[in-house]
């Protein structure tokens, strides 16, 4: 029974593109990490060979953390596949053995979750081999080909961490039967790891701290703390001593979670749906009888109707997100991650500073924005797919609404949610300031920075996310593509030596808000780039509108219907000339941007003098 489910799990993943795509992505990152100095994975390694065993082992450690979310996806699918596909009743009514089912799927998904991490070895070896031919960087920076670091990386980081994380998440997924809770558990695990890391930093007892690190990094660094370059070039950290104890301990914790999950798991329908079914009381049978006359009200036309439709769509979506468990939990997690930091933000290098507005804003940007982006990615998909996920689309699509009201209503709703989050963050920051006895509340600065400047940046990202979800044939593929694009946009450009804000999506110049000069001398560059990305996003928004999913065959839309769609939005006819105008402006902007850089360096010099 175990082998049946195990091989079923393996086969279904090996046929799917997901493990291979991630293997490719990690391989590509490690390839660039090997052959260039621009891509750093887990910090810089100084004079150590670029393919040293120590580096390989470290990379496995780094990717075992980055892969937590990936492992979640594998484990979640394995755990809830039969519920999602509604095959559970068929499978569970067969004489299936619970242990075989539970551990078979887990085992298969665990093995699959390790595939992407092999990208470390693949990327590094390919990099070394190709560099020997093309000599992108000095071949003297590479040592001999080795396997020990890779093996130990797998053994110390990849396997135990995936097992630990995977066990916990699989137990959650299969028992809650909900993708949402799996991702919340994964986020909680990540946040818990970061928070615990901060708390453990102050622990005097190094051994205890290293033992309590569930991913084994601390124990690893204690062993290699005093290693010389020569050591790092030739040896890998072996599994022994405190590292072995740590790995065993957390594997046992994982095993315990797996077993607790196993005991709680039962073949049955979700208890919640049972409760729901009870709620309906049977009705008395009613035969034929005369029915009252319905008021005859025909649908109205015109702008007032359209605006009311827009408002209703906005309100339904906005309230829908606001009331959803996912939103509430993610927001709470975000605050949990952010608010404690606000209280420590006024301490740096042992000195005590006032909790001024900019430290608060930095804290929000540093620890709350990750959650805002997660919420943006998740809910932009969830609202666009809402009708289709609820199988309501055939009803709503046949209603006399314009495509653009659906688009704008949903976009406005998610943007409204992001604005709500910023307001929550501002209230939390001001409350923290008050609690620390600092009473100079600069509400205007908060509003300008978080609700105008940063929200505009999120609005740009949101357009991109909407476009992808409108085109994507599947919500989860959409999530994946959006996240990949965000990551690539953040990291890939620098690897290509491109740092222009004209290319990096939604990037605006860095600036310093000064009490003396306000936004000067950055204001001009900022507004130009905001205008530039605003226009670009308007084009993306039009594209999303043209491909807006409606009816059964939006991807095969004929040119005819697309034209009909264009006619709906009069502004579209202006887009052509606008687009042209935008590219004419590019030269000017490029010039402005270069000039601006010059200004910036001047400004820095001036600032240095103060």
């Amino acid at each position: 029974m175990f082998t049946t489910f195990f091989s079923f799990e393996l086969k279904s993943w090996l046929r799917s593109p997901m493990p291979w795509i991630f293997l490719f992505i990690i391989g590509l990152l490690c390839f660039f990490g090997t052959i260039s100095d621009q891509v750093g994975i887990g910090g810089s390694y100084g004079n150590v060979w670029k393919n040293a065993p120590f580096v390989a082992q470290n990379w496995y450690g780094v990717f075992s953390i980055l892969c937590i979310l990936l492992t979640t996806a594998f484990m979640n699918t394995a755990g809830i596949r039969d519920y999602e596909n509604q095959t559970s009743q068929i499978i569970f009514s067969k004489p299936v053995d619970k242990a075989g089912y539970y551990f078979g799927h887990f085992g298969g998904a665990l093995l699959i979750a390790l595939i992407p991490m092999l990208g470390v070895t693949l990327g590094m070896w390919t990099g070394v081999a190709l560099n020997a031919v093309f000599e992108w960087i000095d071949t003297g920076r590479f040592g001999p080909f080795e396997t020990q670091g890779h093996l130990m990386g797998l053994l110390i980081f990849a396997i135990p961490n995936t097992f630990f994380v995977g066990s916990v998440l699989y137990a959650v997924a299969i028992n809650t039967r909900s993708t949402l809770y799996s991702f919340i558990a994964a986020t909680a695990l990540l946040v818990g790891y970061i928070v615990a890391g901060n708390l453990l930093r102050d622990i005097e007892n190094e051994q205890l701290a290293s033992l309590l690190d569930p991913l084994g990094f601390r124990a690893f660094s204690i062993v290699s703390k005093y290693w010389t370059v020569e050591d790092k070039n030739t040896q890998a950290v072996m599994l022994g001593g405190s590292l072995l104890v740590n790995r065993l301990l957390w594997s046992l914790v994982g095993l315990a979670a797996l077993i607790i999950g196993y005991r709680a798991f039962h073949f049955g329908e979700k208890s919640r749906s049972r409760r729901k079914q009870k709620a309906v009381e049977p009705e008395a049978p009613v035969g034929l009888r005369a029915l009252g006359v319905l008021p005859r009200v025909a649908p109205a036309k015109g702008w007032t109707t359209t605006l009311r439709q827009l408002w209703s769509q906005f309100k339904t979506e906005w309230l829908g997100v606001l009331r959803s468990t996912a939103f509430i939990l993610l927001t709470l997690l975000g605050l949990l991650n952010c608010v404690p930091g606000m209280f420590f933000a006024n301490e740096s290098y042992g000195t005590h500073e006032l909790p001024v507005t900019y430290t608060m804003i930095d804290e929000i940007r540093g620890s709350f924005y990750l959650f805002i982006i997660i919420i943006m990615v998740y809910f932009s998909g969830a609202v666009i797919w809402k009708e289709r996920n609820a199988h309501m689309n055939e009803i709503t699509d046949a209603l006399p609404t314009k495509n653009w009201t659906g688009w704008l209503g949903k976009y406005g709703a998610v943007l409204g949610i992001l604005a709500t989050l910023q307001v929550i963050a501002i209230v939390a920051a001001i409350a923290a300031q008050a609690a620390m006895g600092y009473h100079r509340y600069e509400v205007g600065v908060y509003l300008r920075e978080l609700l105008v400047a940063d929200l505009l940046g999120f609005a740009f990202l949101l357009v991109l996310s909407f476009l992808i979800q409108a085109l994507s044939p599947n919500m989860y593929l959409g999530f994946f593509l959006v996240i990949i694009l965000i990551i690539v946009n953040d990291f890939a450009w620098s690897a290509l030596d491109i740092e222009s804000n004209m290319v990096i999506f939604a990037n605006r110049p860095n600036y310093t808000l000064s009490d003396f000069y306000g936004y000067q001398p950055y204001a001009k560059g900022l507004s130009w780039f905001n205008a530039y990305w605003f226009l670009f996003c308007t084009l993306l928004a039009l594209a999303a509108f043209l491909f807006w999913p409606r009816g059964k065959e939006f991807l095969e839309k004929t040119a005819q219907t697309r034209q009909a769609g264009m006619g709906e939005l009069p502004e579209f006819r202006l887009a052509g000339p606008r687009c042209l105008a935008r590219y004419c402006r590019v030269d000017v902007l490029q010039y402005q941007s270069q000039k601006h850089l010059h200004h910036q360096s001047e400004a820095r010099k001036t600032a240095g003098r103060f």
Binding site: V297, P299, R308, Q313, E394, I395, L399, G551, T558
Partner: protein
């Protein structure tokens, strides 16, 4: 009101010919669209409901081009798809109000319309419960309530009684038959009885082709005196299928009774049977298969 469909064809990218040269004239009143699963009924209905595009052909509702002027159609349309779900945690009342706004019901009359509809489909007492908690019949009645929003002139219901118990089916028919004579109601089904009980006009389609279009009575009259039945043993079925035009075989108390088509009495123990719509249905499908 008259819906005129001419030479409508639709082929899916995987090569399935869902509709082939379909032409129908649909007057006001209940119109039954009868066909086995996969006959192309849903494709036809989705095209008429502006959710899918046809490859070729035309469909006009009086002077509205159904395939082009989607917005105009949507304002006259009430559509109940074959399968539909609802948002979780939203009550019937909230959901219907939202749909009423999207339908374009003016704000002043919205409450009146929604309340009257909920009363009418007998869901008033359950209006504050989540639609997702409804039983199959209640959900289907919610479906018809939303389809009746905005005084529609063209109502399309796709297999509305599938999965309903006899009591719920009766209620549903009751609702449909009350909708009014000045409206086109297209009802697709694979249940012959539905058409018999409700429809003044009908069409039989299979494999995307129209096999019959007209009144149920005309179809029955045409077949009168041509249907013969006989109780046989199970093992004999194949033998009879080779010798006669067997249009259907069904079990009565576990024993097979076959219906065969023949212009003259086939003898051999066959007795004349009253042709019913089911015989028409199977005879047309059989004839369709023979000509293909």
């Amino acid at each position: 009101m008259q819906l005129t469909i001419r030479n409508l064809s639709k082929t899916y990218p995987n090569g399935v010919k869902a509709l082939q040269d379909v032409s129908l004239d649909i007057p006001t009143g209940m119109y039954g669209l009868l066909g086995p699963n996969g006959a192309g009924k849903s494709t036809l209905m989705r095209i008429l409901a502006t959710l899918q595009d046809a490859d070729s052909g035309t469909a006009t509702l009086d002077d509205i081009n159904v395939l082009k002027d989607k917005d105009a159609v949507r304002r006259l349309l009430g559509y109940l798809p074959q399968e539909f779900g609802v948002y979780p945690r939203i009550s019937a009342l909230e959901m219907l109000r939202h749909l009423a706004v999207l339908k374009g019901i003016p704000g002043a009359q919205q409450k009146e319309v929604v309340n009257a509809l909920l009363e009418r489909v007998n869901l008033w007492d359950h209006r504050k419960k989540a639609v997702s908690s409804y039983s199959g019949g209640m959900r289907q009645r919610f479906g018809i309530a939303q389809a009746l929003l905005g005084d529609p002139k063209l109502i399309i219901v796709d297999e509305p009684t599938a999965g309903l118990d006899p009591g719920e089916r009766n209620r549903f028919y009751n609702l449909l038959s009350e909708i009014g004579e000045n409206v086109i109601v297209i009802l697709s089904t694979h249940i012959v009885e539905d058409v018999k009980e409700l429809c003044s006009n009908m069409a039989i389609i299979n494999s995307g082709q129209v096999l019959y279009a007209g009144t149920p009575d005309a179809a029955l009259t045409a077949l009168q005196g041509q249907v013969w039945e006989k109780a046989i043993a199970k093992a004999e079925i194949e033998d009879y299928q080779n010798r006669y035009q067997v249009i259907s075989s069904k079990l009565v108390a576990g024993k097979p009774i076959i219906h065969v088509l023949s212009e003259t009495n086939p003898g051999d123990g066959f007795q004349a049977a009253d042709a019913d719509l089911e015989d028409v249905f199977f005879a047309k499908i059989l004839a369709g298969q023979l000509t293909v």
